[in-house]
Assembly symmetry: C2
Homo-oligomer: 192 residues x 2
Amino acid sequence: MNQLDQYLRSKVQFADEELLRIQTSATPLTVRKRQLLLRAGDVCRHKLFVLRGLLRVYRVSKDGTESVMWFAAESQWAIDPESYTTETPSHCYIEALEDTALLLWTKETMNELFAAILPFRQLSDRVREESHNRSLQRIYINISHTAEEKYDAFVADNPTVFRRVPLHMVASYLGVTRETLSRIRHKHHQLR
Amino acid sequence: MNQLDQYLRSKVQFADEELLRIQTSATPLTVRKRQLLLRAGDVCRHKLFVLRGLLRVYRVSKDGTESVMWFAAESQWAIDPESYTTETPSHCYIEALEDTALLLWTKETMNELFAAILPFRQLSDRVREESHNRSLQRIYINISHTAEEKYDAFVADNPTVFRRVPLHMVASYLGVTRETLSRIRHKHHQLR
DNA sequence: CGATTCTTTGAAAACAGTCAATCTGTGTGG
DNA sequence: CCACACAGATTGACTGTTTTCAAAGAATCG
């Protein structure tokens, strides 16, 4: 039983042949650290599933500042939902932060799978829903919590990821400068 | 042709009898300004559609600070998606900011309608999708823009709503104090 | 009109950003 | 293996922004 099957089964019940079909419809891909999987301006034509490694989805403002929208580690999806559904140029970049193994499906393939395998559509709906809920929670934290609390919440929600990404990317996820985050962290270590 | 029909038709194609069924399945309700439609701790059991008036969805932190998640004006939906789908106690309050006329459907009714009227499910999916995209956009703005730019973006995105809500609620939507927003606005008026 | 809600303003303190310098660890090529 | 470059993290001094607290000024509603 492989990683994808395990993930799929953890969410919804599948028949063996359904898992097989989902698996064989995917294109496997491995990329090196720093490699881009999506560039702003391009249409996001695939859903990516991370088997091993780590991705970041980020945007770049006019002044060149990068803002991390989220990270995708093992058994997580990476996609720009807006570009994917509307088939318009994306505002996002997707970059590998480690050497990464992933599976990808085009939208056409996905839609075929959804039509053929109802549980897979249910899973997709559930993933979207969870993603939406996380977004709302993040908005709430952003508008109501201090930078320190935001950092704590990020660490609590991403216990593995936060050890694997450079601090300045966590800062850019939280919306503070790397210097500020460095100082927040310093205070934390003092308190122990 | 009424407000709901007009809204539904603007999103997806419907047959007349489908519109009728959706309409007659709804419970109409009018509430006075300040009345609560959902309280934190209660499960959000309905989807609300605003015909006339204005609602706010907000959360309250332990220290009593209110944070506005969003506003729902005419032809918009109000719901706590997390509580609604998982049927767990909500973290949100929903309050009428004006005397408000709305329609409401229970989850059971909604699911019956989705099963019977495919276009209605498509519409619901699209609404969720748009809501998710707005959330992601808001996160991006929150982590990458200054308070001033956030205010501009809010005004641009909510040209009608921002004139109808007290300034301190806009502040709580943006995650700044009312004093700060008052000063930002002061600067703006000076520049004209 | 009086009560309530909302907004503005001022001054001080807390906080976060900027800029520049330094320090650390990693990895690459000679 | 070392030297060097590079990416990342930290620190200090300074600046700018936001919050806090307190008070007063509008606007709204019964």
